[in-house]
């Protein structure tokens, strides 16, 4: 067990000296000054570094090993990009700098936008959204603005989403104020066209679709889907989470999509950072361009500027022009590959199909087709016959030195194991992973207890998640003596007692 940084704290230690110019410090007006200091840790610099280094050794990343987390595209994050993002010309640039002081940054953003336009086959780009899910919300707000201008905004209130969709899609629909229409998946893993036709009409604003889908399968009837939606006057939104399958091979714009978000932290190698940051630029067809968030990067001859005067814009979805450091890394990644980005996707798809071929007999395969950049297996039979679940398989993989795949998603596949190798891996790594998966399937039959008890070699065993949710402990409990700022202040406003609504939400856990 690694102590918390707060448990390493001793009064009087410090980790950083601060400049103290010989000037008087003006008083803070009464009632606004800090009464009790925050209980931040008091730790010297060497111990701070050691603490976080120790924590890092209790974490698994792409730099550590194979990370086939489906839908997340855990590929190599080139180190040169980290050096480049740290160049003072990028790192120390203020986002409100005048355009003349930011010509290099603006040119980089413009160039990145041009490459994204080409990859998506669309006309205009906004880099502003902070992540894929924010790109989704932005896209839906664009739909709303577009239909409002056409006088159809009141009528077109429904957005169609397949039952295989990422959870972000329905959540974004709600946040944008739309109503959700769910469509089923057919026996080949495609959208069920019959169900779709019955549910699309002149109250439909649009479709949100991931293609290839979260099953790792390309929608074979994409032409018909386009006809259904465009025929009904509705728009099509492309969730770019799976773009790593089709870069330079097939473009969302050519498939008929009108709005696309691109996950820069998936396809274009922004490191995932333990949960973020990401980048979720959107690309749109020309008729949606007037509604894009402001500011927009504009090129005038050899110079670049930020344009704010866009009367039809939906506004801003994030501060400034977006997560610029992410743009530096992704732009560098694109320039390293160049037109060979097509080969990147081809290798990602080849790697996935190779793993699928090696594993298809040991696990259930719900849709027997060639896959794209990822595929979904099921541990249904292992579960039924040996009591070994997808979760058990995932935990046992840790003992073989691999990060588990995504499990229990998509929801249409029971005991799902969603595997995405990316283009990064060697054939030796793919073979070692396949061998491990085969070994686990064998263990499930011969020694299921070994699999149930996994992982056996991690710093902790399986953790009690029910306990964590039932009685949430979400911050360190300081020893009683150390009264601090977040303890209730005598006479301060007491929180209101819980309402019925609180109880209702509490019961869901």
């Amino acid at each position: 067990m690694t102590p918390l940084i707060y448990e390493r704290s001793r009064p009087g230690r410090r980790g950083l000296e601060v400049p103290r110019p010989p000037l008087p410090v003006p008083p803070v007006p009464e009632g606004l000054a800090r009464a009790a200091p925050p209980r931040l840790p008091e730790v010297a610099e060497p111990e701070v570094l050691r603490h976080f280094t120790e924590l890092s050794t209790r974490n698994f990343g792409v730099d550590t090993g194979f990370y086939p987390l489906g839908s997340c595209t855990m590929k190599y994050n080139p180190r040169v990009n980290e050096r480049l993002v740290g160049l003072p010309g990028f790192r120390d640039l203020h986002p409100l700098a005048d355009d003349d002081a930011a010509q290099g940054a603006l040119e980089l953003e413009w160039r990145l936008g041009e490459i994204l336009r080409e990859i998506t086959g669309l006309d205009a780009v906004s880099l502003q959204p902070a992540a894929g899910s924010q790109g989704e919300l932005t896209g839906l707000l664009l739909m709303q603005a577009y239909f409002d201008e056409r006088g159809e905004g009141e009528r077109r209130r429904r957005v169609v989403i397949p039952d295989t969709a990422h959870g972000t899609n329905p959540a974004s629909v709600t946040m944008a104020g739309y109503e959700l229409t769910k469509v089923a998946t057919d026996e080949r893993g495609n959208l069920d066209l019959g169900d779709l036709r019955a549910k699309v009409d002149d109250t439909t604003a649009g479709l949100m679709l991931t293609n290839p889908s979260t099953l790792g399968l390309f929608e074979e009837a994409i032409d018909e889907i386009r006809e259904i939606f465009h025929g009904a006057g509705a728009l099509m939104y492309y969730d770019g989470a799976n773009l790593n399958a089709v870069c330079g091979i097939s473009r969302p714009g050519d498939m008929g999509f009108d709005i696309v978000h691109i996950n820069l932290h998936k396809t274009f190698a922004q490191p995932h950072g333990g949960g973020g940051p990401g980048g979720g630029p959107i690309a749109v067809r020309a008729q949606l361009e007037p509604f894009l968030p402001v500011p927009v990067v504009v090129r005038d001859g050899d110079s670049y500027r930020l344009e704010y005067d866009r009367p039809k814009s939906i506004g801003k979805v994030r501060g400034y022009t977006g997560p610029f450091g992410v743009f530096v890394r992704s732009y560098a990644f694109m320039r390293a590959w160049g037109p060979d980005l097509r080969r990147m996707s081809e290798i990602a798809v080849l790697n996935a199909n190779y793993l699928l071929a090696r594993l298809r007999d040991a696990y259930d395969l719900p849709y027997d087709r060639l896959c794209m950049h990822e595929f979904v297996l099921s541990a249904k039979t292992l579960k039924r016959e040996h009591g070994v679940s997808a979760l058990d398989v995932a935990k046992r993989l840790m003992d073989f030195g691999f990060h588990p795949p995504t499990i229990y998603f998509p929801l249409v596949v029971p005991e799902a194991l969603m595997i995405e190798p990316t283009e990064t891996e060697t054939k030796e790594t793919l073979d070692a992973f396949a061998d491990a998966m085969l070994a686990i399937a064998r263990e499930a039959r011969e020694e299921p207890e070994l699999v149930h008890g996994a992982p056996h070699g991690c710093p902790v065993g399986r953790l009690d998640e029910v306990r964590a949710a039932r009685t949430p402990v979400v911050r360190y409990a300081f020893p009683e003596a150390a009264a601090g700022a977040s303890d209730p202040k005598p006479g301060a406003t007491e929180p209101r007692p819980p309402t019925e609504k609180d109880d209702a939400s509490a019961r869901l856990v």
């Binding site: 040169v80 959540a171 610029f324 390293a336 009690d464 998640e465 949430p472």
Partner: protein
């Protein structure tokens, strides 16, 4: 291409195992009409040395060598070297969201420590693992307040950062929320006007110190919001919370803000992190990841993502938010910086900023540049009248190598001659003297 390792021999063996003759055949499910029948029209590939040269050339065309007093929400505080060192640990840098806790105890514990630090600084009970930035957490707070109160109006002080207000207005449309703005009076917000505006409001959001750098009568504003039955939300600067009171101690229900000033470079606006903390009873309404402490079967302490039934991957269309990817690495940077500062370093940093800013105010006053809001106390940033259009003043000072600040006329009518000057602990007395000379010239 050096990022991939498959040899021709590997490829042939793999195709044989798959049972297809070529890579093209793997794409046979794609209808002919949607295939791109030409190479991507993007610039040619660059070797690493060429790539470095190209990006260095772009970076060189940004001006970052001016003596800068530009803040307005993003600040030039010192980022300690240990922050950079920790962020380059590949185990943190290249991991994803810790869905598998046994392989992610490092980042989970770090987030737990971050949540604790945010609670301590803001005086709140619970914190999420981070939001996108200081703008989107304000929209998040509105959604929490709407769900909690059942009301559909939010009140924003006009002295709240304009970027934040713009983002709230964009989101409000989808949320079905009306936005009401309360004008400032002499640089701060009047509690009575705020109370009147908040009569049917779900939330009131104000900023402390506000966008003009002035200290709001924050306890009175929070009380006014509570009187009206609205949740008081303070948008605060973490770097100020060693010297300024914690929002939780003056009645706020939520505390939010832009975390950049602690641990992050300016980086042309991102990536940074937004923080969001609240009273305990709001925990199940919060958006985003939350880490909780628990134990394994052997009783060992460990950390997991918790209360996930709030989140999109479980609740889908009934989730509290669509957020998935957040800003963990940048929040980690904030935690490392705060761990180095400790309570004393944080207070000293605040004091140094205040001392230098006060010195700058005095020196400018001596040269005829009076404070725009002379009655109001400030922290590290202040508004000063420059006797002409502030944009012109900026242009003239920049010609002398000094970026003197932000022209408030960019966002506020009637303040065309007002410049917003930010002074961090990285500036010196001599730097301030140069600023004064550059503006007076």
């Amino acid at each position: 291409m050096s990022y991939v390792s498959l040899t021709d021999e590997d490829r042939e063996q793999m195709l044989a195992t798959i049972g297809v003759a070529s890579v093209e055949e793997l794409f046979r499910d794609l209808p002919a009409g949607v295939r791109l029948d030409r190479p991507l029209a993007v610039p040619p590939a660059l070797a690493e040395a060429e790539l470095a040269r190209h990006l260095e050339e772009l970076a060189s065309r940004n001006t970052v060598d001016e003596l800068s007093f530009l803040g307005a929400g993003i600040y030039d505080h010192y980022v300690p070297a240990v922050v950079d060192a920790v962020l380059q640990r590949g185990e943190f840098l290249t991991a994803y969201t810790p869905y598998q806790p046994e392989l992610s105890q490092g980042v989970l514990q770090a987030i737990f420590e971050y949540q604790t630090a945010i609670c301590e600084l803001t005086g709140m009970d619970v914190s999420n693992a981070s939001g996108y930035d200081g703008t989107t957490v304000a929209a998040d707070a509105c959604l929490v307040a709407k769900a909690e109160t059942g009301r559909t109006t939010v009140v924003l002080a006009e002295t709240l950062n304009p970027q934040v207000r713009q983002v709230v207005k964009t989101y409000a449309r989808g949320f079905g929320l009306q936005v009401v703005e309360v004008p400032h009076e002499g640089g701060t917000t009047d509690p009575d006007r705020l109370r009147a505006a908040a009569a049917d409001a779900a939330a009131v959001i104000f900023q402390q110190p506000n966008f003009f750098g002035c200290l709001e009568p924050a306890p009175e504003l929070a009380a006014a919001a509570l009187d009206a039955g609205a949740l008081p939300v303070a948008h605060v600067d973490l770097m100020s919370l060693g010297v300024l009171e914690a929002p939780g101690r003056y009645g706020c229900e939520l505390a939010i803000g832009e975390g950049q000033s602690v641990g992050n470079y300016r980086s042309y606006g991102g990536p940074h992190y937004g923080f969001l903390a609240a009273r305990e009873r709001l925990i199940r309404r919060l958006p985003g990841r939350i880490v909780g402490e628990t134990v394994d079967a052997a009783g060992r302490r460990g950390y997991v993502l918790t209360l996930q039934t709030r989140e999109q991957h479980i609740r889908r269309e009934r989730a509290t938010s669509n957020i998935t990817t957040n800003q963990t690495l940048l929040a980690l940077a904030g935690l490392v910086h705060l761990s180095l500062l400790g309570p004393q370093g944080l207070r000293e940093t605040g004091e140094t900023c205040m001392a230098l800013a006060a010195y700058a105010k005095e020196r400018l006053e001596e040269r005829g540049f009076g404070s725009a809001f002379p009655e109001k106390a400030t922290f590290k940033e202040f508004a000063v009248r420059v006797g002409r259009n502030a944009r012109d003043a900026v242009r003239a000072a920049r010609a002398r190598g000094v970026n003197p600040g932000y022209p408030l006329g960019r966002d506020y009518e009637g303040l065309d001659d007002v410049l917003l000057v930010a002074v961090t602990e990285k500036r010196t007395v001599e730097d301030v003297d140069r600023l004064v000379e550059a503006l007076a010239a």
